[in-house]
């Protein structure tokens, strides 16, 4: 299979807590993988290893077949891994354009900012990707005044702007209204249609089941199982997830 991301034997420990133990995880090209599991199952830790935020204690990470070592967040983004974080990762007191280009500022030479370029690009994004049509909307609006859904929009548009190949969505529907959530799930299908890959973390199994090609269940830092959504019904999936949470095993009779 043609994998865009392959992680082998990943372990990560934070002090006393073994967050991940020998996890194998992969995302195929143009695949949407749902990552589910209870709180503390290691979902966020796993994706923060992909984004270069955490370094694994052991194990290997391959992106487009290339082994990644000592990966930083800036390097991961340059490779085409963008993330929409649970915590949105916005700077509330800064303007929209500064948030869009956070950590990947457009520069001319010697690190000098291309402020006009960034404002222009933000304006363009607002019209083409965010659906703005009025010239009265300014890229220099301060993000802190936006609503939850609006902030989510900024976070998503940012991930898309940089032509990411793999888009990681960490609890993206948290704090969204029902209609905003529905639009968001449409957006995930859009990622797939555009030929890109995605990892979706969500507490809500309904959301994950609705858009994912494959679902990986994490439990207490290890992979408990995985299913193709076309091979399993929503009821079966929920039954299995409930059982994992209770017994740590997907099957009815524990081995």
């Amino acid at each position: 299979m043609d994998y865009i991301l392959e992680m082998r034997n990943i372990s990560k420990r934070f002090g006393e807590v073994q967050a991940l133990r020998q996890v194998d995880f992969a995302v195929a090209r143009n695949e949407v993988v749902g990552l589910v599991g209870d709180n503390g199952a290691g979902k966020s830790t796993l994706i923060k290893i992909v984004t270069g935020y955490h370094t694994p204690d052991s194990g290997e990470v391959y992106f487009n077949g290339r082994k990644l070592e000592g990966l930083s967040v800036a390097e991961a983004r340059a490779l085409g891994i963008e993330t929409v974080y649970q915590e949105r990762a916005l700077a509330n007191l800064q303007t929209l354009w500064r948030n869009i280009f956070m950590g990947r500022e457009l520069t001319t030479h010697l690190g000098f900012l291309d402020v006009n370029g960034m404002e222009r690009e933000t304006q363009k994004l607002m019209i083409s990707s965010m659906g703005f049509t009025s010239a009265a909307v300014a890229p220099d609006a301060v993000v802190g005044t936006f609503s939850g859904g609006e902030k989510q929009g900024v976070s998503i548009v940012r991930a898309l702007y940089f032509q990411a190949e793999l888009i990681i969505l960490d609890e993206p529907t948290m704090g969204l209204s029902v209609s905003e959530t529905r639009k968001f799930l449409e957006f995930v299908r859009g990622i797939k249609e555009a030929g890109k890959s995605s990892i979706l973390i969500d507490h809500n199994v309904f959301h994950v089941y609705a858009v994912a090609d494959r679902i990986v269940v994490l439990d207490r830092g290890a992979v408990a199982g995985e299913f193709l959504t076309k091979d399993i019904t929503l009821d079966e999936l929920m039954e299995k997830m409930y059982r994992v949470a209770q017994t740590g095993s997907l099957e009815p009779t524990p081995r």
């Binding site: 007191l93 500064r98 900012l113 009025s134 909307v137 609006a141 005044t145 989510q152």
Partner: protein
């Protein structure tokens, strides 16, 4: 794909459509307009209260000669505060920098060498602050109290408390360069203050480094998640203040032809007050170079002005204190309104 992408963010537009250009201008430049207004009002107040003093050009010559001593530090200190940190050690760094200068210059006669070593000393002393704060995770308030005492202690131990003469510098090119009088009136240090202001403005507003300073001060976790080198940015702002402090220390010493071992002790409060008065938020993420620049002149004017209008010098401290309290409280309100964390 674009139509699908549009959906989650589409809402952003609608609410913001109604906001006019004027209110946007006000939001963007409000603090800066406010601070300029405060300065002009204060100035008018002093001119009315003490016209004989405030309508003489000598008064402004004096302002331009003394305000730069702390303005040169307050400008880069703005970056430290925007980054969400504080530095209390710059006064001692002024002294340790000049101590290096007064030891190298007489021995080598090479002022370029002495000058470069002074700057390097200031930079490294500032960098040490940054390393303690970032690598050891000590809050900057505490770390820089420590280094403030440490560098002052080093100066006192090495000099035994004796001042050093800078009279040999008098009449040299360096003296003209640092504290000469342009056209017999404008002090060179005023020109240096303007140069430092322009440099810091460019760095903060037109360079990637400055963009990162704002992001780090606003939300350190977000900045880190989006790949900003948070640690390096935090260490560098301290180093730049150290560099500026050593430079300011030299100017202040050359102006009076003496290196006093307590050099810098009187600058702590007024430098910090200038930054906060200038609209820089103690919570980080917000601040302007223009604000600090005007803030320095307000502080400097208050000092000269309170005495000129007939109040005792004791009032100066009271007014400084009020300014710090009011400006910090104002920022807390603004930040709450913007929904900052």
């Amino acid at each position: 794909m674009s139509s699908r992408v549009s959906d989650p963010a589409a809402a952003i537009s609608r609410r913001r459509l109604s906001r006019g250009g004027l209110s946007r201008f006000g939001r963007r430049y409000g603090l800066q307009i406010g601070i300029v207004g405060v300065f002009l009002a204060l100035w008018a107040f002093f001119i009315i209260g003490a016209p004989r003093t405030f309508l003489r050009r000598e008064m402004y010559g004096a302002f331009m000669s003394t305000i730069p001593f702390f303005a040169i530090m307050a400008l880069p200190l703005t970056m430290v505060v925007i980054a969400g940190e504080i530095d209390l050690s710059f006064g001692s760094i002024m002294a340790i920098g000049v101590l290096v200068f007064v030891n190298v210059f007489p021995r080598t006669g090479n002022f370029a060498l002495a000058f470069v070593l002074l700057l390097v000393t200031g930079f490294l002393a500032g960098l040490l602050n940054g390393i303690i704060v970032v690598k050891f995770g000590i809050p900057s308030l505490v770390a820089t109290i420590g280094t403030q005492f440490f560098w002052r202690g080093v100066v006192l131990v090495i000099t035994n408390g004796h001042p050093a003469s800078l009279v040999p510098v008098k009449g040299t090119f360096l003296h003209q360069l640092l504290v000469g009088r342009l056209g017999g009136y404008i002090p060179a240090q005023m020109i240096w203050t303007i140069i430092v202001a322009v440099l810091v403005w460019v760095l903060l507003n037109r360079h990637k480094f400055g963009a990162h300073v704002y992001l780090v001060g606003d939300n350190r976790d977000s900045a880190r998640l989006m790949g900003v080198n948070v640690d390096r940015t935090r260490m560098m702002v301290f180093a730049i203040v150290g560099l500026a402090a050593a430079f300011a220390g030299l100017i202040a010493s050359v102006e009076v032809n003496y290196f006093w071992v307590n050099l810098g002790e009187g600058y702590l409060l007024r430098t910090l007050a200038s930054v906060f008065l200038g609209g820089t938020s103690v919570f980080g993420g917000v601040g302007t170079v223009l604000g600090t620049f005007i803030g320095c002149f307000i502080i400097g004017t208050i000092e000269g002005g309170t005495v000129a209008i007939g109040l005792t010098g004791f009032w100066t401290q009271l007014i400084y204190g009020l300014i710090i309290i009011i400006s910090i409280s104002m920022h807390s309100l603004v930040r709450t309104r913007l929904g900052g964390s």
